[in-house]
């Protein structure tokens, strides 16, 4: 039966090709997505300012010379560092306090706090920023007007257009994410370590300062770096608050150079700034990886959930409650003012007399507008395709990073992680440069491309940590049963991790819907989505319209994401 071996050999080619083909395809896709834009960005930073990077052969250092000679560069970097460091420090401090209260004390309302925090993670920063502007702008900010009328202040109480307001608003916005990270850190810490301190005579304060905090330090440190990095890359709040406050940071500078209000875009200088921001972010990424590895060494996290003894707060519980729900109340204000404005046919500050004028007219007008329905349709296309493409590609890449020892697998892993270190604004600039003269530009698909590139690193992390928990023999058993490699993935491996796939899908879905960077930088009449339309309405200005759209976007996100996440969380716990 020599023919048997011959057909066998030929068939072996088929299977190897199945796996090799997918690997080659993934490598090609990730290279185009990640390497292409980065190389074009670097090329553009060496191109003369007035030409497109792909249309010239000239190399010049002019952009970097200009960047280094300009006195504004130093102030930009200074602004960015001060902004990121202060927001991070305030945000992490508030988050640590609230997380400690909900995880380690008997403060009432702990579950409510957790639910609120998870819900706020879904609220676009843009929406919160608009809310704060409506509350605190110096002319007719609702809080300022109220104080003026009540106490007869001549000057506004607080004004949103200052550096400090930007810092505080950003700090408040990073609290929910930091809270989720820190509470899982606290939850995984062995309470025996704390109990040992109590048994050996330490009082509550000594236990907190001498045992709990030092043990948490490595974890808090890496969370701090992560948050710092997130603020350095932030774009929406610096755009809507920072520019009016005259505090440009690196990300808004890149935006202004590539989409100036008047004059031609200076892609060369924008790219040079982009490369600078890229280097800063990559350095932070490196520091973050070092810090988390250091954290592993101190690891007191044993993987199983503990049920720690909660500290009895006694009279202090009112302080804890006041602090926690004070924060929650402050976070509600911008959303409430948006709701108020969206229910007023024409903009007016909150008052009892205006209560009678509430109506849903704005929502009716908004939904009747064909431009809005177009934007809604575009948003649905954008978020559903981005989330789906990211999770399909990440699941496959995740399999290769976990199961394949080949060099190609390692390259794939590294390439897909790279976008983590590229600030979105820089990546979008690079995508703009690469695709400006292609038919893709100006369509909704260029936005999909941007979001897929930005979120792929998250997707791959999620899927490889999910797949590593699936016993290798489960997949092998399918192969031995005669199933092809793709069938084994489709029928056995991926169905086993579907809660994690769905979780990742929801994360990308929500982040794609709330992102302004990509839709704004690549905006054209054909690819307006909810976030960019919101920006346009705000700039127009149609404040009630913008507020109504913001409320709609937020409600849609909460309605889709929160119940699904609760469902997935329950599935994962089983």
């Amino acid at each position: 039966m020599t023919t048997g071996s011959v057909t066998g050999a030929r068939r072996s080619g088929v299977r190897l090709d199945q796996q090799k083909l997918v690997l080659a395809l993934l490598l090609a896709v990730v290279s185009i997505l990640v390497l292409g834009p980065v190389l074009v960005l670097i090329r553009a930073s060496f191109a003369p300012a007035e030409s497109m990077p792909l249309e010239t052969l000239e190399f010049t250092l002019k952009n970097y010379v200009q960047l280094l000679q300009s006195p504004r560069t130093l102030s930009l970097i200074w602004n960015t560092v001060v902004y990121a460091l202060s927001s991070m420090a305030i945000g992490v401090a508030i988050a640590t306090a609230i997380a400690w209260c909900t995880e380690r004390t008997d403060m009432p309302g702990r579950i409510l706090v957790r639910i609120l925090m998870f819900a706020w993670m879904m609220v676009p920063a843009l929406v919160v920023g608009f809310g704060w502007i409506l509350l605190l702008n110096p002319g007719n900010g609702a809080l300022n007007v109220m104080f003026r009328e009540l106490f007869g202040f001549a000057r506004p109480l607080l004004t949103i257009y200052t550096f400090w307001s930007l810092i505080v608003v950003t700090a408040f916005a990073v609290v929910p994410t930091a809270f989720v990270m820190i509470s899982s850190l606290l939850r995984n810490m062995d309470p025996n370590l704390e109990q040992a301190a109590r048994v050996h005579g330490g009082n509550a304060w000594a236990t907190l300062t001498r045992v709990t905090l030092p043990l948490l330090t490595p974890g808090l440190f890496s969370i701090g770096i992560y948050m710092f990095m997130a603020v350095v890359q932030a774009f929406d709040l610096p755009l809507i608050i920072g520019l009016s406050a005259d505090v440009p940071v690196l990300s808004t500078r890149v935006y202004l150079l590539s989409s100036p209000d008047n004059g031609l875009p200076n892609y060369g200088l924008a790219s040079a700034f982009g490369v600078l921001l890229l280097v800063v972010a990559a350095g932070l990424m490196w520091a973050y990886m070092r810090a988390t590895r250091l954290g592993e060494r101190f690891r007191v996290v044993t993987g199983k959930a503990f049920r720690p003894k909660r500290i009895k707060l006694g009279r202090w519980r009112f302080a804890a409650l006041g602090f926690t729900f004070g924060y929650c109340a402050v976070m509600m204000l911008p959303l409430l003012i948006l709701l108020w404005v969206s229910l007023q046919p024409s903009y007016s500050t909150p008052s009892l007399s205006a209560l009678g004028g509430l109506s849903l007219d704005i929502y009716r007008r908004l939904l009747a507008n064909p431009m809005i329905s177009r934007a809604v349709l575009n948003t649905v296309i954008l978020v559903v395709s981005s989330a789906t493409i990211v999770m399909v590609v990440s699941s496959l890449i995740g399999w290769f990073t976990v199961r394949s020892n080949s060099k190609a697998g390692k390259i794939l892993d590294a390439l897909s992680f790279l976008p983590m270190a590229i600030p979105p604004i820089v990546l979008v600039l690079a995508i703009l440069l690469l695709y400006l003269n292609t038919p893709l530009y100006g369509t909704i698909w260029i936005l999909v491309l941007g979001h897929v590139t930005i979120y792929i690193a998250f997707g791959v992390r999620t899927m490889s940590s999910a797949l590593i928990q699936i016993h290798k023999e489960l997949g092998d058993a399918a192969l031995i049963s005669g199933a092809s490699w793709l069938t084994s993935l489709r029928k056995v491996v991926f169905p086993l991790v579907w809660p994690q796939i769905l979780n990742g899908w929801l994360w990308v879905f929500a982040h794609s819907a709330r992102d302004l960077t990509v839709p704004l930088m690549l905006m054209s009449t054909g690819n307006l989505v909810a976030a960019s339309t919101l920006w346009n309405l705000w700039q127009f200005p149609d404040l009630p319209g913008a507020a109504a759209l913001a409320i709609l976007l937020m409600v849609a996100l909460l309605v889709v994401v929160v119940p699904s996440q609760l469902y997935v969380a329950r599935r994962l716990e089983r």
Partner: protein
């Protein structure tokens, strides 16, 4: 049925360590319908060999033939992937898919495999396979609701449902408790024997291997040490390693005086006659292997001297229930005996031991693996 020729496999060293030689030139032949066991301590290459047969690992060189078809051959550059080899396999973890029912698990090879069957045949075939393992009544149960023993049976049913050419068992009994293990061992053996399917069984437990197999290959550090029937391997070890691995034995170092069928070695307790391999030449350093059960207590009336008879004194006795582990001293050496629980011997008593020559095996001397004391 299955022929393995000169398999070599190495893994690249990790963290700057040297490359690991998992298989160094492994060859053997498996007869149609036999239960063939790969036995050895962890890291000996038995699992790697099985993975190569399964197609889950690819050897560096050599050949694997099933029937007259090569599924792997480095020389002819043939490589048949795992899913085309028409195998059945029971994994150490059972690998029962938790998101499917028992029925779907067993039906998988019939529905998604290479040898697909028409859909109306799937149900009766699955039912037949489940009844074979006495689980016919559990077809619709979700897989996570099975006990360990039931999972094992489902894994067996899944491995047999598509009538594979070869059944591979990767330490299938190691996750079961001791009592269930004995039952399953007998059941698996009688099932595969009644089906007549060729079976490759991997284990590190010599009791399992002896109870299950027609043939055993004992491996160590990527090489085959000895191949033979369970009886041969247990009673006629060819090395200190085999003797030590297969069960307890008394090892007496010595020098070979004459070889062949009437071999004799000079040891600390005196000359001992026994069976020696033909490769041993007089004057070589050897080890005499005597199983504790091999030693006989000679009647008092017999003269003390004579072939393989030695004066001894009881040093210690441990009552273990089904046997009494007895330590005796003779010629300055300690020997272990297993006596029946009704023995009248007491500590301190003098006696005469007889080591029947056909029960004494003379093997080349080698350092016994330190720190190991297999039962």
């Amino acid at each position: 049925m299955l022929v393995i020729e000169n398999l070599v496999k190495s893994y690249p060293g990790q963290h700057g360590q040297d490359e690991v030689q998992a298989l160094r030139d492994v060859s053997f032949k498996v007869d149609e319908g036999a239960i063939f066991t790969l036995l050895g301590p962890s890291g000996c290459g038995k699992t790697t060999t099985l993975q190569c047969i399964a197609g889950l690992e690819n050897p560096d060189s050599g050949a694997i033939r099933m029937g007259d078809r090569a599924v792997f051959s480095s020389r002819e550059s043939v490589l048949v992937p795992a899913n085309r080899r028409e195998l059945g396999m029971v994994f150490q973890s059972y690998a029962i898919w938790p998101h499917m029912s028992v029925f779907d698990n067993v039906a998988f090879p019939l529905v998604h495999g290479v040898k697909r069957v028409p859909s109306r045949e799937v149900r009766p075939r699955v039912q037949k396979a489940l009844e074979m393992v006495e689980l016919g009544h559990l077809a619709d149960r979700p897989a996570p609701l099975l006990s360990g023993g039931q999972q094992q049976r489902v894994a067996l049913a899944r491995a047999l449902a598509h009538e594979p050419r070869l059944l591979l068992l990767d330490e299938p009994l190691s996750n079961l408790d001791a009592k269930l293990r004995d039952t399953m061992r007998t059941e698996i053996r009688s099932l595969v024997k009644s089906l007549g399917i060729t079976t490759i069984f991997v284990t590190h437990d010599q009791v399992e291997a002896i109870g299950m197999s027609d043939q055993i290959v004992l491996m160590k550090a990527g090489k085959i040490v000895q191949q033979g029937s369970p009886r041969d391997i247990y009673l006629k070890p060819n090395s200190v390693f085999t003797a030590d691995f297969m069960g307890r034995s008394n090892l007496l170092p010595g020098v070979l005086e004459n070889g062949g069928a009437t071999a004799r070695a000079q040891t600390a307790i005196g000359p001992v006659s026994g069976i020696a391999g033909s490769e041993l030449a007089p004057g070589e350093q050897v080890m005499v292997v005597v199983r504790p059960q091999a030693i006989v207590i000679a009647p008092d009336t017999d003269p003390a001297q004579g072939s393989n008879r030695f004066k001894a004194r009881v040093d210690a006795m441990t009552f273990l229930g089904d046997v009494v582990e007895t330590e005796v001293e003779t010629g300055g050496r300690k020997l272990t005996l297993m006596l029946d629980p009704y023995t009248s011997l007491v500590v301190g008593q003098k006696l005469i031991l007889e080591l029947p020559p056909e029960r004494c095996v003379i093997v080349p001397a080698a350092k016994p693996p330190s720190g190991r004391n297999p039962q």
